[in-house]
Amino acid sequence: MDVAIVGVGLHPFGRFPGVSGIEMGAIAIRRALADAGVEWRDIEFAFGGSYEVDNPDAVVALLGLTGLPFTDVYNGCATAASALTLAADTIRLGDHGLGIAVGMDKHLPGAFSADPRQYACPLWYGELGQFVTTKFFGMKINKYMQDHGISHSTLAKVVAKNLRNGALNENAFRRKPMTEEAILGSPMLNYPLTQYMFCSPDEGAAAVVLCRAEDARRYTDKPIYLRATTVRTRRLGAFEVHSPWLPVEETVGPTVDASRAAFERAGLGPEDVDVVQLQDADAGAEIIHLAENGFCCDGDQEALVADGALEIGGSLPVNTDGGLLANGEPIGASGLRQVHEVVRQLRGQAGDRQVPGNPKVGYTQLYGAPGTAGVSILSR
């Protein structure tokens, strides 16, 4: 059974003192309901994703205690992809016809920290200062740059592009463009990545209303079809975050596996995609993920960035709403923010950042610790 998205809603991303994660979730849900033209009491089931909010389902206290089945999910940086996948699968199972996926989070400023033992790593790995996600990102892009000829200036150009796109997005956290020089000149955190080449954990919420494809026109004259959603975890030999050791045998990462499976299910290829949202937790990640998702070959990114191909008006627009670099990363909401942007783009409702030429197919990708990826493909 095919699934359609008939409503999207967002609470802006950023920092909102005095507003709780649950309250942001409720606002995102109300906006998604209004977008779909339905009431909360019409919603038959829900999935809610969050890292900081123990029980996203508590949002019913702010919306109405209708008794609906509401399941909370947490799956690292792929939390939102998991909520969306489960919501779509619930419709495919046939039990329910109209549901919602919501993500909400409210992080403190600063790098994430956790007990390494919760990630099947030894305690000493954390004590020594190696249980650090940003260090993995630095190591992965540093190796990639050496192996495939990517320059430091390309890293800065990716950040500058995403901040420019963020400046056009009223819901973004960072809306001030920066020069390449200022990005390259900010303090080095993990070579070759400087301070402004990383996104920040922040706050926000996003929600998506889904229904059976055959019912979609009851709610909207611009349904967006969810052609595929996939989640994959790492296989032995992938170069992944929080790995005290790696085997000598090498294999591709979970993003590659999730992407290939999603394209196969959708019956589409990278050449069919008109607008792309990638996990750009750092500038290097956007570059690597372009290739891992099949949008170019390793090393082609240098020319794609130089030629402006990834800009809103380019041949392969990437992170048109500013991505994680401009929006920050409220973990539970981040992937649904990507879906929100793609839906707006495919409907022709993206305003100043509208991709020209009536984009027909959109793509989103998430990646996070300890090696989990989620992909979705949407089309008009």
Binding site: S113, G126, E127, Q130, F131, M139, K140, Q146, M188, P247
Partner: protein, 140 residues
């Protein structure tokens, strides 16, 4: 003021020629670091201790130029923090171990360079004892 290892069982101690202690699966021969009780490739629980080579080649690297969030990080912070290198060193053609590097200068680090194991002071513990950890330095 006796030096103590950062953890038991990750390198031979005391030793004039320290080696990292990994494990090898007796079914499929994969080598892990540190020791683990089950095999991540074939799921066997028959793993045996296996000492790793003291020299190898740098496979990937970066620098850690800010104090990691604490906890879990237990080393020097604030003005006492000294940036360090981090990388994977391939040992004996059988495993890549993530490790501190004694060098944090990008100009002095190159993929493929020969590295060797050393034990270095990491911090002082509550009793004033020097806590030692493993690291790799460029080999001569």
């Amino acid at each position: 003021m006796a030096p103590v290892p950062v953890a038991e069982g990750i390198f031979t101690w005391p030793s004039d020629e320290p080696q990292l202690i990994g494990s090898r699966c007796t079914s499929c021969q994969i080598v892990t670091f540190p020791v683990q009780a089950s095999c991540p490739r074939c799921a066997s629980t028959k793993m045996e201790a296996h000492l790793l080579a003291r020299r190898g080649r740098l496979w990937a690297w970066t620098t850690q130029e800010f104090p990691p969030p604490s906890p879990p990080y237990a080393g020097p912070t604030g003005d006492a923090f000294v940036p360090f290198g981090v990388g994977y060193v391939e040992l004996g053609g059988e495993v890549r171990v993530e490790t501190r590097l004694t060098v944090a200068d990008p100009e002095a680090l190159t993929e493929g360079m020969e590295m060797e194991l050393v034990l270095v002071p990491f911090r002082a513990d509550e009793d004033g004892d020097e806590v030692m950890t493993f690291a790799f330095r460029p080999a001569d």
